[in-house]
């Protein structure tokens, strides 16, 4: 009965207590402002009542040096009390309260979730989302099927951002010089500032924002700049797209936005571009790309993907041909290609890359030429302007422009070379030209190029050694941000920023489509949005974000019954007719693409900077889900590493986990080595976003800060880095390869070899598949139903099952986060991960084929197989895991006594055990986050994938209330829903017409370790490759 107690602490089910407050707030808003309008939010937030609620609901979390410690103690206590609660054999349920509304908001049916469309701005660019809200508290983020950049999918960042919303480490009050202040006090300060600056026309007034695509915000800023003509607006995005913009400017003489139509492309050449997983439109690209290689039968066709890249990436692992090239070589490769295609190659000497067989390039050229208008050549966001320019001219030469490659006006409100723009700001500060600096979001003091030495400008060093530090030349520094971070620390004012789920706004998607960002909850921490801040700066503090956005578009769309248009835009999550029209831009004649190559310079080892796959530029450092999310291919968690190719590692005599010192242009950095199969030789990759000093209890002080080596002239790669061995070792936590005791690559290879011997991954080329469509089928004797002494169990009615098409899986991790969010899966921390106790219910197994120098990489999402003859069930002594009449392998948490026998006996090791009290029961702000339809597991309980049984039950009940059967597609598991490529399909396998049945009917269908006769319900479809027959190897 221990659950009976514990779950009271967490809103396992809608705990009436939590429900009340948030919802009455919401209800109050409704009254205050009518449907879906959120004006007077901040007035309300000012009320004492609201403050009390906040305090009672989200009391301040005391600053702890390390969150771990305090959490651990708490855990002990909880565990103990839990234990003693349990020890009394029969415990009485505690008395509960029911707390009804005073006045019920009409659209809320207690116990039923609502969905709202909104959008998340990521590096300024929007992805459309649907957010599930239970009784007024957002609990789950999903993709918006109506949004062109999502089509129903959502990436890991977007889905995990809900955890950031409830992050207890977010600042909760306005601070001035680090001391608690208030918004109204700040407004007074602003008024002084305005009074002062209006006279000076904004002389010495500077605005620093991140990339802005929000038309309404841009409009506000422009108005502001009208008021203060001398003021300047700078933008900086650490993992920004400067080189992309610059490339287009070089090629076309103006900034243009480029997006691609993979649904029309048969041959794709990616120049170090991870377009499937990162960058604007990635979700859409992944879907279109996968659709072009979906296999129905052996007549199906596939597109072909060539990739040259330095760092192993998800896109690289999907390639039919992949070559690992160093940064310099990639540009050389692009030039060679351009030249052979007769395109403008910049008229500089061609350096044909060594890392690629000589016969390959002509073959690729031929392949591209055979697909004029149906091919794409694209360069990665981190490639030099030159490479981008070359890609543009190649596409032009191939006649892809307007067909597969679309050019539009830039989606940024104010496109610029941001690195340069920040440089100007730094220079102005240095000469004392900046009096007031207003920073909107971002964290420049952490992530600005090292050579700008921004920090010392904010916090000058003593002129004389040991002397007093002079005051910063910038008199007034104001920072609006989600966290009180390294930058806020040195600002005079810090204003807590409202999370995008708390505030109104708008943003453009990769193709210009505008989405309205509508809040799902009143700001939990008194946060303000950029809109509200600029309203204040422009002298109209009363104006709410809602009005600003609403009115801006009212002026833009001069249509009658605008309110209906507005409501529709809110409801759909996209604003009709806002996508940019394609425009034809001829490349400027014979432009010079020489130089600009950011990686030339002295030889030696080249270093590559990349945004981190899970914490990006550091913005997500304090997000436990993302920190613990195994990074693609490396499976690393909670750290960043310096990646080397096996060959280079051997040459340098370094092994995994060994700490080396990287020296570049007088700057140094210590980083643990990771040996990455398929990495380019003589090249080292470091990921940005770690080494934070002020990120919060989770993000502070883990990993190393790669920005320390990054300079404005070489933002993405530089040559001549020296690697010095230190002899130290650094413990790393990863979720695969955990059996390795020695650090050499032998065991990685052994593992993958075993995987292929055991036919866990089944691969063929499309030709082979056409010849032998059954190559993947399980052998007859492994699939006989009568392989048991006992009679087989009959499943009539629904029979749930899943098919996983490994041909579509790009290993993007979206499913992992979706599952974590849907099923209240706890975060366990680095130490626990390193001893093999990560809790993810779905994992993406990664195997290599071929030598580790340039291997093929294969992904295989593994979740519970829901075996019909489940080995786990027979061994459970209490029947805590049993089989449902619909074929689900059920895990009954409240019955589990934790013998772990089931996990031992699981051939797929998909079961996860709460070795300690992992679920956080002590942080109040995390309570509203939880999915009320899924039990939060206590300590000592086994758990595993349930096929999202809560969704199955909901759908079944709904169908019965409507007197019908569950239709195919009614039930989507969380992982399936989030998957950008629709690699996972769930449904009723007793219905021959369901999508899952059709997939399972394919000849590529096979099950893992079929010879055990476990008869898994989760089966896999074999991976196919489409290599160019003319290329050997």
């Amino acid at each position: 009965m221990i659950f009976g107690k514990t779950l009271k602490l967490m809103a396992g089910k809608d705990n009436p207590q939590e429900r009340l407050d948030l919802v009455t707030i919401r209800a109050r808003l409704e009254e205050a402002s009518g449907r879906r309008t959120w004006q007077s939010l901040d007035e309300l937030a000012e009320t004492q009542e609201f403050k009390n609620f906040l305090h009672h609901e989200f009391p301040h979390v005391p600053e702890k040096s390390s969150g771990q410690v305090s959490r651990r103690d708490a855990l002990k206590f909880m565990a103990a009390s839990a234990a003693f609660a349990g020890l009394t054999a029969c415990t009485k349920l505690p008395t509960e309260k029911i707390v009804p509304y005073v006045i019920a908001p009409e659209e809320i049916v207690p116990g039923k979730p609502l969905f709202y469309a909104t959008a998340m701005p990521f590096a300024g660019i929007a992805t459309g989302l649907l957010v599930e809200s239970h009784m007024g508290r957002p609990t789950k983020i999903e993709g918006n099927p109506l949004h062109p950049a999502s089509l129903g999918a959502a990436d890991a960042f977007a889905q995990a951002s809900i955890l950031t919303l409830y992050d207890p480490d977010r600042p909760q009050v306005v601070t001035r010089q680090g001391r608690i202040s208030t918004w109204s006090a700040f407004l007074d300060a602003i008024n002084e500032l305005r009074a002062d600056q209006l006279v000076k026309k904004g002389e010495g007034l500077r605005i620093l924002t991140e990339t802005v695509t929000s038309p309404s915000l841009a409009d506000q800023i422009q108005n502001f700049l009208k008021q203060f003509p001398q003021a300047k607006w700078h933008q900086y995005e650490p993992a920004g797209r400067d080189t992309v913009r610059e490339g287009s400017r070089v090629a076309f003489g103006e900034y243009v936005n480029t997006y691609y139509r993979f649904d029309r492309a048969d041959v794709i050449l990616a120049l170090d571009s991870d377009f499937l997983c990162y960058g604007p439109g990635a979700l859409r690209y992944a879907r279109d790309f996968a659709d072009k290689r979906r296999i129905v039968d052996n007549k199906s066709t596939m597109n072909r993907l060539y990739v040259v890249e330095s760092t192993p990436s998800n896109t690289g692992s999907m390639a039919d041909h992949r070559w690992a090239l160093g940064p310099r070589e990639i540009e050389g490769f692009a030039r060679t290609l351009a030249q052979q295609l007769g395109a403008n190659s910049g008229g500089v000497s061609i350096t044909a890359p060594a890392g690629i067989p000589t016969d390959a390039i002509p073959t690729i050229v031929r392949d591209l030429q055979n697909h004029k208008g149906t091919s794409i050549v694209l360069a990665g966001d981190q490639q030099s302007p030159a490479v981008h320019a070359l890609a543009h001219t190649i596409n032009h030469a191939l006649g892809n422009n307007g067909k597969t490659v679309i050019y539009t006006d830039p989606i940024e409100a104010n496109p610029a070379d941001q690195t340069q723009s920040l440089g100007e700001l730094a220079a102005d500060i240095r000469v004392g030209g900046v009096e007031t600096l207003i920073i909107i979001g971002g964290n420049p003091l952490y992530n600005a190029p090292a050579n700008y030495e921004l920090r010392s400008l904010f916090f000058p060093l003593p002129t004389t050694p040991g002397g007093a530090r002079p005051a910063s030349k910038v008199k007034l520094k104001i920072h609006l941000s989600l966290y009180n971070n390294e930058t806020s620390e040195l600002c005079d004012w810090h204003i807590p920023q409202a999370h995008y789920l708390e505030s109104w706004g708008d943003a453009r998607a990769y193709d210009g489509t505008v989405s309205i960002i509508q809040p799902l909850i009143a700001p939990l921490y008194d946060g303000k949005s950029a809109h509200e801040l600029f309203a204040a700066l422009s002298g109209e503090p009363g104006r709410t974000a809602h009005n600003i956005v609403h009115d801006y578009w009212k002026n833009q769309k001069s249509i009658k019954d605008y309110e209906i248009f507005w409501e529709t835009s809110l409801h759909d999550g996209v604003m009709a007719g806002t996508a940019f029209a394609p425009k034809s831009v001829p490349p400027a004649a014979n432009y010079n693409v020489a130089g600009g190559d950011s990686s030339t310079g002295s030889g030696g080892i080249a270093i590559i900077f990349r945004p981190d796959p899970t914490v990006w530029d550091g913005a997500f450092s304090n997000n436990g889900w993302l920190q613990e999310l195994p990074k693609p291919i490396t499976k690393l968690t909670w750290d960043n590493v310096a990646m080397l190719s096996p060959g280079t590692a051997q040459r340098l005599g370094v092994t995994k986990g060994e700490v080396v010192e990287l020296r570049l242009a007088g700057r140094a950095l210590r980083a643990p080595v990771w040996v990455a199969p398929g990495h380019a030789d003589e090249t080292i990759t470091v990921h940005l976003g770690y080494g934070r000093t002020r990120a919060g209890r989770l993000g502070t002080g883990i990993g190393f800060n790669a920005y320390a080596l990054r300079t404005s002239d070489r933002p993405w790669s530089a040559s001549g880095v020296d690697i010095i061995k230190t002899g130290e070792r650094y413990p790393l936590a990863y979720t695969q390869y955990q059996h390795m005791i020695s650090q050499d690559q032998k065991e990685v290879e052994e593992e993958s070899v075993a995987a292929f011997n055991r036919q866990l991954v089944r691969v063929a080329t499309i030709e082979e598949f056409r010849k032998d469509p059954d190559f993947a089928r399980d052998s007859e004797e492994n699939t006989r139903a009568d392989d048991s002494l006992y009679p087989p169990y009959k499943y009539d009615g629904y029979a749930w099952g899943m098919a996983v098409d490994t041909n579509s899986c790009i290993g993007c991790n979206a499913c992992v986060v979706a599952c974590q969010s849907e099923n209240n899966i706890p975060v366990v921390g680095k130490e626990q991960v390193s001893v093999g106790r990560a809790m993810h219910w779905i994992r993406i197994d990664t195997y290599f084929r071929g030598g580790l120098d340039d291997p093929e990489t294969y992904y295989e999402p593994v979740l519970c197989m829901h075996c019909e003859n489940a080995p786990c069930e027979g061994v459970c002594p209490v029947g805590a895991t049993v089989h449902s009449p619909e074929g689900l392998n059920e895990m009954v948490y409240n019955r589990c006594v934790g013998t772990r026998y089931c996990s031992n006996n699981c051939p797929y090791k998909v079961r996860r055990f709460n070795f300690e009290l992992y679920s956080d029961w002590t942080t109040p702000s995390l309570v509203p986050l939880r999915n009320p339809n899924v039990t939060v597991r206590s300590r000592g309980v086994m758990e595993k994938c349930t096929y999202c049984v809560q969704r199955i039950n909901a759908a079944k009940i709904k169908s019965e209330l409507e007197d019908r059967d569950v239709r195919d597609g009614d039930i989507q598991t969380a992982c399936q829903q989030s998957c950008p490529t629709q690699a996972l399909v769930f449904g009723n396998i007793n219905d021959p017409n369901s999508r899952v049945s059709k997939l399972k009917a394919q000849s590529r269908n096979y099950s893992l370790v079929a010879e055990l006769n476990t008869r898994p319900r989760t089966t896999y479809l074999a991976r196919l490759r489409n290599p160019n027959p003319e290329i050997k190897g």
């Binding site: 002990k76 593992e751 797929y908």
Partner: protein
Amino acid sequence: MGPLNTQPPAENESRPLIGPGYDFASVSDKISSIVLTKGTPRGWYFGFAIAFSLMMLLLYAASYLLMTGIGIWGNNIPVGWAFDITNFVWWIGIGHAGTLISAILLLLRQKWRTSINRFAEAMTLFAVACAGTFPLLHMGRPWLAYWLFPYPNPMGTWPQFRSPLVWDVFAVSTYATVSLLFWFVGLIPDLATLRDRAKNRASKIIYGVLSMGWRGSAVHWHRYETASLLLAGLATPLVVSVHTVVSFDFSAGVIPGWHSTIFPPYFVAGAIYSGFAMVMTLAIPIRAFYKLEDFITMRHLDNMAKVLVATGMIVAYGYMMETFMAFYSGSQYDRYMIMNRMTGPYAFEYWLLILCNIAIPQALWSKRVRNTIPALFIISLIINVGMWLERFIIIVTSLHRDFLPSSWGMYYPTRWDWATYVGTIGLFVALLFLFLRFLPMISIFEMRQLVAETDEGAKKD
């Protein structure tokens, strides 16, 4: 037990089972005096103190476990079981020798069992007590352990009787009960002796209550012997079944290295192997400390050594068959499992186990070794280690690399793993010390029978 009509001693049993010059009186006095003397030897206090402190360590480890969870151990996914179940199987195995000596050797009319069966049985009880703690401690939510027993409850649920763990519960609890009964029945006449020999009133009463008024009536003796024989007849299949059921925990699984039909016989053999080793380990110091060389003679040790060789060879055969089957079966998983055992991360433990369980014990073939007490003592210790390693290897190496390479892992014990293990050893020894102090460690009335028989023999020639 038909004592007076036993067959004439076979030629290999030339040496006496009891020193010369003992009659009913002196036997009774000598053994009971150990219990009834006022003063307790200083050595006893010393040994008990050490054992007791280890017992406290167990208590500490267990409470911390209860507070924090299994996480304090090294267990993980994939290695869900490690030290916990290893220790469980090891202790249970040790227990088996006691029952074997008292039941099977009784049925086989092996007279030499007489002087060692009492403390062998006691050892069984204490070993089972130690074993019993692990199934409880290894649970994620031990406070719900009672769910493994069938009882009417508000949930209307029952245990899942197909699970070998539930079989374990019944097997082990039955085993504990029957062993206790058997042991106590054996004690009754001796308790009567103590009652009658005791000087002070307190012990008279205590032993009086325990002996339940036994007065050695001929009729009682008659029923008593029938009962002993029946119990022996019941305990014999029981002891075999218990370790068979324990081996089901593994052979019922699908994991390569577990899923094997050879487990039941070779687990039973292994159990007896380790059990006799433990009897040897205990007997040698005890006979020295309490000057019992006349009762626990060289011939006892010699016979036990022979049993060790025999069971050791069965175990060795088990290992061989395991390896053979892995290759013969043609299952690549089994093949990989064996190769991994022999060459993988736990290869050292594996070869150490072969050394301890197979190589070194071969020395016992030599009569000289069998008659050098230090050698016997050391070898018995080595076998105990070896048998522990065997269980560790079976559990951990099978789990740490099973079907999907992606989820292969490693297991490293934490200090809490060790604390729990060493703690149970403390518990075991502490109980043993109490037993030696307060109960006759050798069956007095059976020694009288031995005296009677040897007199018979004497008369005959």
